[in-house]
């Protein structure tokens, strides 16, 4: 059994989901990579922003 930290879980989730999104939503390898990277950054960025928002709301 593994117990990753919450951020590690987010990183793994974003990595796998972004890779599948990139491959399935675009036609060429270059565009696949770019779209995958875009999704990955959006996943991680939105997680960090929402985490700070919840932290500030909770104070």
């Amino acid at each position: 059994m593994i117990h990753p930290s919450h951020f590690t879980a987010v990183l793994l989730f974003a990595l796998f989901a972004s890779t599948v999104f990139g491959i399935t939503m675009r036609d060429t390898p270059r565009r696949m990579f770019r779209y995958g990277a875009y999704c990955f950054i959006l996943f991680i960025g939105s997680t960090i922003v929402l985490s700070w928002v919840m932290f500030l709301i909770a104070r």
């Binding site: 059994m1 593994i2 117990h3 990753p4 793994l12 989901a17 599948v20 999104f21 491959i23």
Partner: protein, 136 residues
């Protein structure tokens, strides 16, 4: 008049055979839909991502949805079924049967559901490649 025989076009060649084979193969085994079409690298990457996500979900003590008592459970079962044979093999092996007790286990449950949903996206992508709706 030309007497040369007409060559079958590439489009006609790609339409031969069972059209839904990549869709069904891709659902049953992650990446297999792309393997059927000869897209080996894409299929391998998809397989690694989806299978790894499913196994990580189980390793985090995530739950496999087995019964549909309410609407959320129904959605969970639908998502889990997207993993195809991975879901049925895990059920047979008795994996993912314990109730969720920790936050990480809840994340694991979501990993399993999303792995199934991603597998459905990958299978539909293989079908679109097969029918020509997606160029390459």
């Amino acid at each position: 008049m030309s007497t040369a025989p007409n060559k079958p076009s590439q489009a006609k060649q790609t339409q031969q055979g069972f059209v839904y084979l990549p869709l069904i193969a891709g659902w049953l085994i992650p990446g297999a839909g792309h393997f059927v079409l000869g897209k080996w690298i894409r299929g391998a990457i998809l397989a690694v991502c989806i299978i790894a996500m499913f196994i990580l979900g189980l390793a985090m003590q995530g739950k496999l949805y087995t019964s549909a008592q309410d609407i959320l459970d129904m959605l969970g079962v639908a998502g889990d079924l997207g993993s195809g044979l991975l879901y049925f093999i895990s059920r047979i092996m008795g994996l993912g049967g314990e109730p969720v007790r920790t936050t990480v286990a809840d994340y694991g449950t979501k990993f399993i559901v999303v792995a199934g949903l991603l597998n459905i996206i990958a299978a539909v992508d293989a079908h679109n490649l097969r029918t020509g709706r997606k160029a390459s």
